[in-house]
Protein backbone atom coordinates (compact mmCIF):
# COMPACT_ATOMS: atom_id res chain seq x y z
CA UNK A 1 0.00 0.00 0.00
CA UNK A 2 2.79 2.41 0.85
CA UNK A 3 4.51 1.81 -2.52
CA UNK A 4 1.69 3.43 -4.51
CA UNK A 5 1.37 6.44 -2.29
CA UNK A 6 2.74 9.40 -4.34
CA UNK A 7 4.58 11.20 -1.57
CA UNK A 8 6.03 8.35 0.47
CA UNK A 9 9.61 9.13 -0.46
CA UNK A 10 9.12 12.86 0.07
CA UNK A 11 7.67 12.64 3.57
CA UNK A 12 10.98 11.41 4.83
CA UNK A 13 12.82 14.46 3.48
CA UNK A 14 12.84 18.01 4.81
CA UNK A 15 10.64 20.41 2.86
CA UNK A 16 13.58 22.65 2.00
CA UNK A 17 15.29 19.80 0.17
CA UNK A 18 12.08 19.03 -1.70
CA UNK A 19 11.71 22.69 -2.59
CA UNK A 20 15.27 22.79 -3.87
CA UNK A 21 14.68 19.69 -5.94
CA UNK A 22 11.51 21.25 -7.31
CA UNK A 23 13.29 24.48 -8.29
CA UNK A 24 16.08 22.53 -9.98
CA UNK A 25 13.53 20.49 -11.89
CA UNK A 26 11.65 23.61 -13.00
CA UNK A 27 14.90 25.10 -14.31
CA UNK A 28 15.68 21.84 -16.12
CA UNK A 29 12.19 21.74 -17.63
CA UNK A 30 12.47 25.32 -18.84
CA UNK A 31 15.90 24.71 -20.36
CA UNK A 32 14.81 21.49 -22.03
CA UNK A 33 11.65 23.15 -23.32
CA UNK A 34 13.73 25.91 -24.87
CA UNK A 35 16.05 23.36 -26.44
CA UNK A 36 13.08 21.43 -27.77
CA UNK A 37 11.49 24.51 -29.31
CA UNK A 38 14.77 25.32 -31.00
CA UNK A 39 15.00 21.74 -32.24
CA UNK A 40 11.45 21.93 -33.61
CA UNK A 41 12.24 25.20 -35.40
CA UNK A 42 15.39 23.68 -36.81
CA UNK A 43 13.51 20.60 -37.96
CA UNK A 44 10.90 22.79 -39.66
CA UNK A 45 13.71 24.76 -41.28
CA UNK A 46 15.32 21.52 -42.55
CA UNK A 47 12.05 20.38 -44.01
CA UNK A 48 11.40 23.77 -45.58
CA UNK A 49 14.87 23.99 -47.12
CA UNK A 50 14.52 20.49 -48.57
CA UNK A 51 11.21 21.47 -50.18
CA UNK A 52 12.80 24.66 -51.50
CA UNK A 53 15.77 22.72 -52.88
CA UNK A 54 13.58 20.25 -54.78
CA UNK A 55 11.31 22.99 -56.13
CA UNK A 56 8.28 22.06 -54.05
CA UNK A 57 8.34 25.42 -52.33
CA UNK A 58 9.06 28.83 -53.82
CA UNK A 59 11.17 30.05 -50.89
CA UNK A 60 12.11 28.52 -47.55
CA UNK A 61 10.19 29.61 -44.44
CA UNK A 62 12.74 30.16 -41.73
CA UNK A 63 12.23 31.56 -38.25
CA UNK A 64 14.03 34.84 -37.61
CA UNK A 65 15.84 33.60 -34.52
CA UNK A 66 16.85 30.33 -36.15
CA UNK A 67 20.11 29.03 -34.71
CA UNK A 68 23.07 28.91 -37.07
CA UNK A 69 22.88 25.87 -39.35
CA UNK A 70 25.76 25.81 -41.89
CA UNK A 71 24.24 22.97 -43.93
CA UNK A 72 21.02 24.97 -44.45
CA UNK A 73 22.92 28.09 -45.41
CA UNK A 74 25.03 26.09 -47.86
CA UNK A 75 21.97 24.37 -49.36
CA UNK A 76 20.25 27.71 -49.89
CA UNK A 77 23.36 29.16 -51.48
CA UNK A 78 23.65 26.15 -53.78
CA UNK A 79 19.98 26.37 -54.70
CA UNK A 80 20.33 30.07 -55.56
CA UNK A 81 23.39 29.30 -57.66
CA UNK A 82 21.58 26.39 -59.33
CA UNK A 83 18.54 28.57 -60.14
CA UNK A 84 20.77 31.28 -61.55
CA UNK A 85 22.58 28.76 -63.77
CA UNK A 86 19.27 27.24 -64.84
CA UNK A 87 18.01 30.68 -65.86
CA UNK A 88 21.23 31.32 -67.71
CA UNK A 89 20.86 28.03 -69.58
CA UNK A 90 17.24 28.75 -70.50
CA UNK A 91 18.16 32.23 -71.68
CA UNK A 92 20.92 30.78 -73.85
CA UNK A 93 18.63 28.18 -75.40
CA UNK A 94 16.03 30.87 -76.11
CA UNK A 95 18.71 33.23 -77.47
CA UNK A 96 20.44 30.77 -79.85
CA UNK A 97 17.38 28.65 -80.55
CA UNK A 98 19.22 26.08 -82.73
CA UNK A 99 20.84 22.87 -81.56
CA UNK A 100 24.62 22.58 -81.71
CA UNK A 101 24.64 19.62 -84.11
CA UNK A 102 22.23 21.45 -86.41
CA UNK A 103 24.50 24.49 -86.46
CA UNK A 104 27.47 22.29 -87.37
CA UNK A 105 25.51 20.78 -90.25
CA UNK A 106 24.46 24.25 -91.38
CA UNK A 107 28.04 25.49 -91.28
CA UNK A 108 29.21 22.59 -93.45
CA UNK A 109 26.39 23.09 -95.90
CA UNK A 110 27.00 26.83 -96.26
CA UNK A 111 30.73 26.36 -96.64
CA UNK A 112 30.20 23.79 -99.41
CA UNK A 113 27.77 26.05 -101.25
CA UNK A 114 30.00 29.10 -101.02
CA UNK A 115 33.48 27.72 -101.52
CA UNK A 116 33.60 24.24 -102.98
CA UNK A 117 33.90 23.98 -106.76
CA UNK A 118 31.35 21.21 -106.95
CA UNK A 119 28.84 23.44 -105.22
CA UNK A 120 25.94 25.00 -107.09
CA UNK A 121 27.08 27.14 -109.98
CA UNK A 122 23.87 29.11 -110.43
CA UNK A 123 23.98 30.89 -107.08
CA UNK A 124 23.16 34.57 -107.36
CA UNK A 125 25.13 37.29 -105.61
CA UNK A 126 22.23 38.01 -103.28
CA UNK A 127 22.06 34.34 -102.28
CA UNK A 128 25.80 34.34 -101.78
CA UNK A 129 25.60 37.42 -99.57
CA UNK A 130 22.82 35.79 -97.52
CA UNK A 131 24.79 32.55 -97.15
CA UNK A 132 27.94 34.47 -96.22
CA UNK A 133 26.02 36.30 -93.48
CA UNK A 134 24.40 33.07 -92.18
CA UNK A 135 27.75 31.26 -92.21
CA UNK A 136 29.38 33.78 -89.89
CA UNK A 137 26.32 33.98 -87.68
CA UNK A 138 26.39 30.17 -87.36
CA UNK A 139 30.10 30.38 -86.58
CA UNK A 140 29.37 32.89 -83.80
CA UNK A 141 26.57 30.64 -82.49
CA UNK A 142 28.92 27.69 -82.39
CA UNK A 143 31.46 29.78 -80.47
CA UNK A 144 28.69 30.71 -78.02
CA UNK A 145 28.13 26.99 -77.45
CA UNK A 146 31.63 26.78 -75.96
CA UNK A 147 30.56 28.93 -73.03
CA UNK A 148 27.30 26.95 -72.94
CA UNK A 149 29.24 23.71 -72.46
CA UNK A 150 31.06 25.29 -69.51
CA UNK A 151 27.71 26.47 -68.17
CA UNK A 152 26.19 22.98 -68.48
CA UNK A 153 29.17 21.45 -66.73
CA UNK A 154 28.81 23.95 -63.89
CA UNK A 155 25.05 23.38 -63.74
CA UNK A 156 25.46 19.61 -63.43
CA UNK A 157 28.15 19.99 -60.78
CA UNK A 158 25.93 22.36 -58.78
CA UNK A 159 22.96 20.02 -59.16
CA UNK A 160 25.04 17.13 -57.82
CA UNK A 161 26.31 19.18 -54.88
CA UNK A 162 22.79 20.38 -54.11
CA UNK A 163 21.45 16.81 -54.13
CA UNK A 164 24.25 15.72 -51.82
CA UNK A 165 23.44 18.62 -49.50
CA UNK A 166 19.76 17.70 -49.56
CA UNK A 167 20.64 14.14 -48.63
CA UNK A 168 22.76 15.42 -45.77
CA UNK A 169 19.96 17.73 -44.58
CA UNK A 170 17.53 14.84 -44.80
CA UNK A 171 19.79 12.81 -42.55
CA UNK A 172 20.03 15.75 -40.14
CA UNK A 173 16.26 16.12 -40.30
CA UNK A 174 15.76 12.53 -39.20
CA UNK A 175 18.27 13.06 -36.40
CA UNK A 176 16.45 16.19 -35.27
CA UNK A 177 13.12 14.33 -35.31
CA UNK A 178 14.61 11.69 -33.04
CA UNK A 179 16.03 14.41 -30.79
CA UNK A 180 12.64 16.13 -30.54
CA UNK A 181 10.93 12.84 -29.70
CA UNK A 182 13.54 12.03 -27.06
CA UNK A 183 13.29 15.51 -25.58
CA UNK A 184 9.52 15.18 -25.41
CA UNK A 185 9.76 11.92 -23.47
CA UNK A 186 12.32 13.43 -21.13
CA UNK A 187 10.25 16.58 -20.75
CA UNK A 188 7.15 14.61 -19.86
CA UNK A 189 9.03 12.69 -17.22
CA UNK A 190 10.54 15.87 -15.75
CA UNK A 191 7.20 17.67 -15.78
CA UNK A 192 5.51 14.75 -14.07
CA UNK A 193 8.12 14.75 -11.34
CA UNK A 194 7.95 18.54 -11.00
CA UNK A 195 4.17 18.32 -10.75
CA UNK A 196 4.45 15.70 -8.05
CA UNK A 197 6.87 17.81 -6.06
CA UNK A 198 4.69 20.86 -6.50
CA UNK A 199 1.60 19.00 -5.36
CA UNK A 200 3.47 17.73 -2.34
CA UNK A 201 4.72 21.20 -1.48
CA UNK A 202 1.25 22.68 -1.89
CA UNK A 203 -0.20 20.02 0.34
CA UNK A 204 2.51 20.59 2.87
CA UNK A 205 1.78 24.32 2.85
CA UNK A 206 -1.94 23.74 3.29
CA UNK A 207 -1.47 21.44 6.22
CA UNK A 208 1.33 23.61 7.60
CA UNK A 209 3.64 20.70 7.65
CA UNK A 210 6.56 22.82 8.44
CA UNK A 211 5.06 24.54 11.50
CA UNK A 212 3.17 21.64 12.98
CA UNK A 213 4.18 21.22 16.64
CA UNK A 214 4.75 17.72 17.87
CA UNK A 215 1.94 15.85 19.45
CA UNK A 216 2.06 15.72 23.21
CA UNK A 217 3.58 12.47 24.34
CA UNK A 218 0.72 11.53 26.56
CA UNK A 219 -2.00 12.37 24.03
CA UNK A 220 -2.18 8.87 22.74
CA UNK A 221 -2.34 7.46 26.27
CA UNK A 222 -5.00 9.88 27.30
CA UNK A 223 -7.04 9.32 24.20
CA UNK A 224 -7.00 5.59 24.37
CA UNK A 225 -7.67 5.53 28.09
CA UNK A 226 -10.77 7.61 27.49
CA UNK A 227 -9.55 10.82 29.08
CA UNK A 228 -10.65 14.09 27.64
CA UNK A 229 -8.49 16.07 25.21
CA UNK A 230 -8.70 19.74 24.35
CA UNK A 231 -9.93 21.09 21.02
CA UNK A 232 -6.41 22.27 20.15
CA UNK A 233 -5.10 18.76 20.79
CA UNK A 234 -7.82 17.29 18.57
CA UNK A 235 -6.98 19.74 15.78
CA UNK A 236 -3.29 18.95 16.09
CA UNK A 237 -4.01 15.25 15.97
CA UNK A 238 -6.10 15.65 12.82
CA UNK A 239 -3.39 17.76 11.21
CA UNK A 240 -0.93 14.96 11.92
CA UNK A 241 -3.13 12.51 10.10
CA UNK A 242 -5.85 11.51 12.57
CA UNK A 243 -5.98 8.52 14.81
CA UNK A 244 -3.87 6.44 12.48
CA UNK A 245 -0.95 8.79 13.05
CA UNK A 246 -0.95 8.19 16.78
CA UNK A 247 1.33 5.53 18.17
CA UNK A 248 -0.37 2.81 20.11
CA UNK A 249 0.14 3.30 23.85
CA UNK A 250 1.59 0.57 26.00
CA UNK A 251 0.20 -0.83 29.22
CA UNK A 252 -3.13 0.82 28.92
CA UNK A 253 -6.18 -1.09 29.85
CA UNK A 254 -8.80 -0.36 27.39
CA UNK A 255 -12.34 -0.21 28.42
CA UNK A 256 -13.35 -1.53 25.14
CA UNK A 257 -11.01 -4.47 25.42
CA UNK A 258 -12.38 -5.55 28.70
CA UNK A 259 -14.12 -8.76 28.46
CA UNK A 260 -17.44 -8.92 29.84
CA UNK A 261 -18.06 -12.10 31.59
CA UNK A 262 -21.31 -13.34 30.45
CA UNK A 263 -23.84 -13.32 33.28
CA UNK A 264 -26.07 -16.17 33.18
CA UNK A 265 -29.30 -15.18 34.71
CA UNK A 266 -32.07 -17.56 35.37
CA UNK A 267 -35.22 -16.56 33.76
CA UNK A 268 -37.83 -15.46 36.11
CA UNK A 269 -41.03 -17.00 35.55
CA UNK A 270 -42.85 -15.17 38.35
CA UNK A 271 -43.14 -11.44 39.16
CA UNK A 272 -41.00 -9.89 41.82
CA UNK A 273 -42.78 -9.22 44.91
CA UNK A 274 -42.11 -8.12 48.36
CA UNK A 275 -38.51 -7.52 49.32
CA UNK A 276 -37.20 -8.39 46.02
CA UNK A 277 -39.45 -5.82 44.41
CA UNK A 278 -38.46 -3.27 47.00
CA UNK A 279 -34.74 -3.87 46.52
CA UNK A 280 -35.13 -3.49 42.84
CA UNK A 281 -36.98 -0.21 43.10
CA UNK A 282 -34.57 1.10 45.72
CA UNK A 283 -31.55 0.30 43.65
CA UNK A 284 -32.93 2.04 40.57
Amino acid sequence: MSSILPFDDLRQEPTEIVEERYNTLVTQVEALDRERKEAIELRKAHSSVIKYAVNKQERPTLAKDLPEAPSLVRAMELKSAFDALLNERDEFVSRISVRKDRIEQMLDHLYNALVLEDGRTNVTVDQEREMFSRFFEAQAMLDAYRSYDVLLHELNATRRMLLEEVKSINRDDRRWSQTVARQLTELRSLRREAGRLKAFLEQSNRTGRTTLPDLPEDLSTRLYSGDSISLEELSLMLAHGGLSALPEPKNVAFESQRRRTPQHQSRRSSPRRGRAQHERNGSS
Binding site: V115, V123, F132, E137
Partner: protein, 143 residues
Protein backbone atom coordinates in the same frame (compact mmCIF):
# COMPACT_ATOMS: atom_id res chain seq x y z
CA UNK B 1 37.90 21.14 -95.16
CA UNK B 2 38.34 20.09 -91.59
CA UNK B 3 35.55 21.15 -89.24
CA UNK B 4 37.99 23.03 -87.06
CA UNK B 5 39.16 25.11 -90.02
CA UNK B 6 35.60 25.83 -91.05
CA UNK B 7 34.90 27.05 -87.55
CA UNK B 8 37.91 29.32 -87.58
CA UNK B 9 37.81 30.74 -91.08
CA UNK B 10 37.75 34.53 -91.11
CA UNK B 11 35.49 36.71 -93.31
CA UNK B 12 38.45 37.86 -95.40
CA UNK B 13 39.57 34.27 -95.97
CA UNK B 14 36.04 33.38 -96.93
CA UNK B 15 35.89 36.22 -99.46
CA UNK B 16 39.17 34.98 -100.93
CA UNK B 17 37.83 31.43 -101.09
CA UNK B 18 34.65 32.61 -102.84
CA UNK B 19 36.67 34.61 -105.35
CA UNK B 20 38.96 31.65 -106.01
CA UNK B 21 35.97 29.46 -106.73
CA UNK B 22 34.39 32.09 -108.95
CA UNK B 23 37.61 32.56 -110.89
CA UNK B 24 37.87 28.81 -111.46
CA UNK B 25 34.30 28.82 -112.68
CA UNK B 26 35.11 31.78 -114.93
CA UNK B 27 37.63 29.60 -116.77
CA UNK B 28 35.25 26.66 -117.24
CA UNK B 29 31.88 28.35 -117.77
CA UNK B 30 32.58 29.86 -121.25
CA UNK B 31 33.39 26.49 -122.73
CA UNK B 32 30.34 24.98 -121.02
CA UNK B 33 28.21 27.77 -122.50
CA UNK B 34 29.71 27.19 -125.96
CA UNK B 35 28.88 23.47 -125.68
CA UNK B 36 25.35 24.30 -124.68
CA UNK B 37 25.04 26.73 -127.60
CA UNK B 38 26.17 24.07 -130.06
CA UNK B 39 23.84 21.53 -128.51
CA UNK B 40 20.90 23.93 -128.82
CA UNK B 41 21.68 24.68 -132.47
CA UNK B 42 21.85 20.97 -133.19
CA UNK B 43 18.55 20.43 -131.41
CA UNK B 44 16.87 23.14 -133.50
CA UNK B 45 18.19 21.51 -136.67
CA UNK B 46 16.95 18.09 -135.62
CA UNK B 47 13.46 19.42 -134.95
CA UNK B 48 13.42 21.19 -138.31
CA UNK B 49 14.49 17.95 -140.13
CA UNK B 50 11.88 15.87 -138.35
CA UNK B 51 9.10 18.34 -139.18
CA UNK B 52 10.12 18.38 -142.88
CA UNK B 53 10.11 14.58 -142.95
CA UNK B 54 6.58 14.57 -141.52
CA UNK B 55 5.32 17.14 -144.07
CA UNK B 56 6.89 15.14 -146.93
CA UNK B 57 4.72 12.11 -146.18
CA UNK B 58 1.81 11.84 -148.72
CA UNK B 59 -1.77 11.65 -147.57
CA UNK B 60 -1.85 8.07 -148.81
CA UNK B 61 0.94 7.02 -146.50
CA UNK B 62 0.12 4.41 -143.96
CA UNK B 63 -1.34 5.65 -140.74
CA UNK B 64 1.28 3.78 -138.80
CA UNK B 65 4.09 5.51 -140.68
CA UNK B 66 2.56 8.98 -140.01
CA UNK B 67 2.32 8.13 -136.27
CA UNK B 68 5.98 7.18 -136.19
CA UNK B 69 7.00 10.46 -137.87
CA UNK B 70 4.89 12.49 -135.40
CA UNK B 71 6.39 10.71 -132.46
CA UNK B 72 9.92 11.43 -133.78
CA UNK B 73 9.08 15.16 -134.09
CA UNK B 74 7.88 15.21 -130.44
CA UNK B 75 11.11 13.54 -129.31
CA UNK B 76 13.24 16.09 -131.10
CA UNK B 77 11.14 18.91 -129.65
CA UNK B 78 11.68 17.58 -126.11
CA UNK B 79 15.42 17.40 -126.73
CA UNK B 80 15.36 20.96 -128.06
CA UNK B 81 13.56 22.28 -124.98
CA UNK B 82 16.05 20.56 -122.71
CA UNK B 83 19.00 21.96 -124.70
CA UNK B 84 17.57 25.47 -124.57
CA UNK B 85 17.10 25.14 -120.80
CA UNK B 86 20.67 23.91 -120.34
CA UNK B 87 22.00 26.76 -122.47
CA UNK B 88 19.95 29.23 -120.45
CA UNK B 89 21.26 27.76 -117.21
CA UNK B 90 24.86 28.00 -118.42
CA UNK B 91 24.25 31.55 -119.55
CA UNK B 92 22.75 32.49 -116.15
CA UNK B 93 25.65 30.81 -114.36
CA UNK B 94 28.03 32.82 -116.48
CA UNK B 95 26.20 36.06 -115.68
CA UNK B 96 26.00 35.21 -111.96
CA UNK B 97 29.68 34.36 -111.94
CA UNK B 98 30.55 37.67 -113.53
CA UNK B 99 28.35 39.58 -111.07
CA UNK B 100 29.77 37.64 -108.12
CA UNK B 101 33.34 38.26 -109.22
CA UNK B 102 32.56 41.94 -109.58
CA UNK B 103 30.91 42.12 -106.16
CA UNK B 104 33.40 40.16 -104.04
CA UNK B 105 36.46 41.60 -105.72
CA UNK B 106 35.35 45.14 -105.00
CA UNK B 107 33.87 44.50 -101.52
CA UNK B 108 34.25 47.52 -99.24
CA UNK B 109 34.87 47.16 -95.48
CA UNK B 110 31.50 48.82 -94.67
CA UNK B 111 29.73 46.34 -96.93
CA UNK B 112 31.54 43.47 -95.19
CA UNK B 113 30.50 44.83 -91.79
CA UNK B 114 26.88 44.94 -92.87
CA UNK B 115 27.13 41.27 -93.86
CA UNK B 116 28.47 40.45 -90.41
CA UNK B 117 25.80 42.33 -88.42
CA UNK B 118 23.99 39.15 -87.29
CA UNK B 119 27.24 37.46 -86.27
CA UNK B 120 28.28 40.50 -84.25
CA UNK B 121 24.90 40.59 -82.50
CA UNK B 122 25.30 36.94 -81.46
CA UNK B 123 28.89 37.51 -80.34
CA UNK B 124 27.84 40.43 -78.17
CA UNK B 125 25.24 38.22 -76.39
CA UNK B 126 22.23 39.07 -78.49
CA UNK B 127 19.71 36.66 -79.99
CA UNK B 128 20.35 34.77 -83.22
CA UNK B 129 18.19 35.35 -86.30
CA UNK B 130 16.48 32.02 -85.52
CA UNK B 131 15.84 33.17 -81.97
CA UNK B 132 14.37 36.46 -83.17
CA UNK B 133 12.16 34.61 -85.64
CA UNK B 134 11.02 32.19 -82.96
CA UNK B 135 10.18 35.02 -80.54
CA UNK B 136 8.23 36.79 -83.27
CA UNK B 137 6.29 33.61 -84.03
CA UNK B 138 5.50 33.07 -80.36
CA UNK B 139 4.32 36.67 -79.99
CA UNK B 140 2.18 36.23 -83.08
CA UNK B 141 0.64 33.06 -81.63
CA UNK B 142 -0.04 34.78 -78.32
CA UNK B 143 -1.65 37.74 -80.07
Amino acid sequence: MAKKLIREISPDQMVEAILARRQTLATTLPSTLAEREAETNRAYQLVKDAQEKLSALSNEAANDERQKAKHFVEEQETFRRRAVSRRSKASNAMNNNDASLAYWSSLQPEELDSLLTDAERVRSGGPSSWGIRQDAEEEEEEA
